[in-house]
Amino acid sequence: MNLALRELRRRPSRFGVATGVLTLIVVLLLFLGGLTDGLFVGSVGAIRSQDADVFVTSSTARDSFLRSRIDPELRAAVEGVDGVERVGGLGFALLTARVEGASADSDPTDIALIGYELGGNDLPAPPEPGTAYIDERVGTDGVKVGDTLLIGSAATPVKVIGNVSNSNYLLQGSVWVEPSTWRDALAANRPDLQLAPGVFQTLVVSGAGDPAELAKQIDAATDGATSSLTKPEAELSLPGTEQQQSTFLQIIGTTLAVAALVTALFFSLLTLERTGLYGVLKALGSSSLQLFTGVALQALAVTAISLVIGGVLTLGLVAIAPAEIPLLLTGGRVVFVAVGMFIASFLGSVVSLRRVVRIDPASAIGGGT
């Protein structure tokens, strides 16, 4: 074991190519992971920011928040379900906005105008009528606290009073307002979608016990008039989200397989080159397991070095990447990539095991006759 690490320390150039290739793979994985998470959070941030266990939509909406309508009568039925502790209305509208006083030639910003009744994890309680919290993403379009946003073609004014983060909806920067402001803006800009007072698209529900069980109880209590989703189900119900996730995860999986292949190829060649040395070490009493442990340890050490260099490079890339690229580098993703790389490189090194086992100690003194 010491022998393997000493070789790594004394002959670092021998491992340079493998370290370089694995570093690039780490950068690619972190970048892909960052994009996956960035796109996901950019799509479902508004759902994730809700302090809720269950999202209730009307069953006719087929799990679409935009199509769904929950009237006060249905809401009362939901509130009456055993175990339901807190119920709030939630509604979305995809519109455009322009900062008051901006040049008429400037492009309007795409936004998701969200009306809500309850504060959430990182979401403050609803602001006063006519005011809004905006996601930092909207801020990257030049909108600041204190600005007045003119929503849609009707130019419904809303004053920005604060920022929230990671709360976007379908990759549109979110603008959070209290329900009557949302309802008024919807009526003015999308009369086809306007809702009567008390009507929401969705209800967010907190309650005791298993969320899936609570969702079933709610749907039973409304005689099937509602389709209730747990939070993870609600996140994946947004159009394209699940497909996007699975596509990226497949790319990440393939990249990890490439990492395993690179490790397998490199350490197979290295083992082949060391046949003579391993023959001598076996003659001196080394077991195949001891020698393989050395190979695996070197593979893991090279991976660890690649992870550090790749991590630093990725942080640099994230820092200089344009704000429009939805990159989100989370600790969980870094751990996922690190664990994935360690597993891939260990599996890659296992390919050398057969070769190590087959090395004949007698080869150290020529064997044969």
Binding site: G276, V280, A283, G285, A362, I365, G366, T369
Partner: protein, 232 residues
């Protein structure tokens, strides 16, 4: 107790339908503190005999006893253990670990076996290197040593585990005559001073004078020349 006893040992290699007999009913006893030269031409079976004696190859028939241990039926794991503890090797190509210093090349024998503390390993390695006249070269890598110095490090490595038997394969084949004699002198003096037995494979008749006895091998058949030929 004899250091090595080969009793009626055969080694047969199979190549397709053909059988090649590398060692044919070989019987050999190497006594304590005895250095035996095994002399034979290329392909005569001397390396096979050395490999079987050191637990690197299993005999097809016969018994092999080293330091009182019958290793004939040993599993590969037991043979690993046997090589770690009971024999020393000096290889023809020297075969030092290229990225380890002279001292570390000795210490690695104990590292593999998990023997001694790192400090004790260093003390033992330094003592051996000093005996071999290499105290000033202990921190040098093999590439920085001359051929003779490398061979001396290899001798030190073979003695690191205090073996009952050292098996030496053509130690002078890559050295000029003067260096060859120096190395043989070192081998003899180091083995004799420890009471360690040795089998020296060579085809160089000039070197057999350093041994107590010479055994010839031709086509896998041993012939005992008998008598002590040691002149040093």
């Amino acid at each position: 107790m004899s250091a090595l006893v080969l009793q009626d040992v055969r080694k047969v290699y199979r190549s397709g339908d053909q059988e090649v007999v590398a060692l044919d009913h070989a019987t050999l006893t190497v006594g304590d503190n005895e250095l035996v030269a095994l002399l034979g031409p290329s392909g005569s079976g001397k390396t096979t005999l050395l490999s079987i004696s050191g637990g690197l190859l299993a005999a097809t028939e016969g018994t092999v006893t080293v330091g009182g241990q019958d290793i004939s039926g040993f599993s590969s794991r037991q043979l690993d253990e046997f090589r770690r503890e009971s024999v020393g090797f000096v290889f023809q190509q020297v075969n030092l670990v290229p990225f380890l210093t002279a001292r570390e090349n000795l210490m690695v024998v104990d590292e593999i076996a998990g023997r001694r503390t790192p400090k004790e390993r260093k003390v033992r390695a330094d003592a051996l290197l000093e005996e071999l006249g290499l105290a000033h070269r202990c921190d040098n890598l093999p590439a920085q040593l001359s051929g003779g110095e490398r061979q001396r490090v290899a001798i030190g490595r073979s003695l690191m585990n205090e073996p009952a038997l050292v098996l030496i394969d053509e130690p002078t084949s890559a050295l000029d005559t003067k260096l060859g004699h120096q190395v043989m002198e070192l081998i003899r003096s180091n083995l004799k001073s420890r009471g360690t037995s040795g089998v020296l494979v060579t085809h160089d008749t000039r070197m057999i004078g350093y041994c107590d006895r010479t055994v010839s091998i031709v086509d896998g058949v041993l012939s005992h020349d008998g008598g002590s030929s040691a002149t040093h």
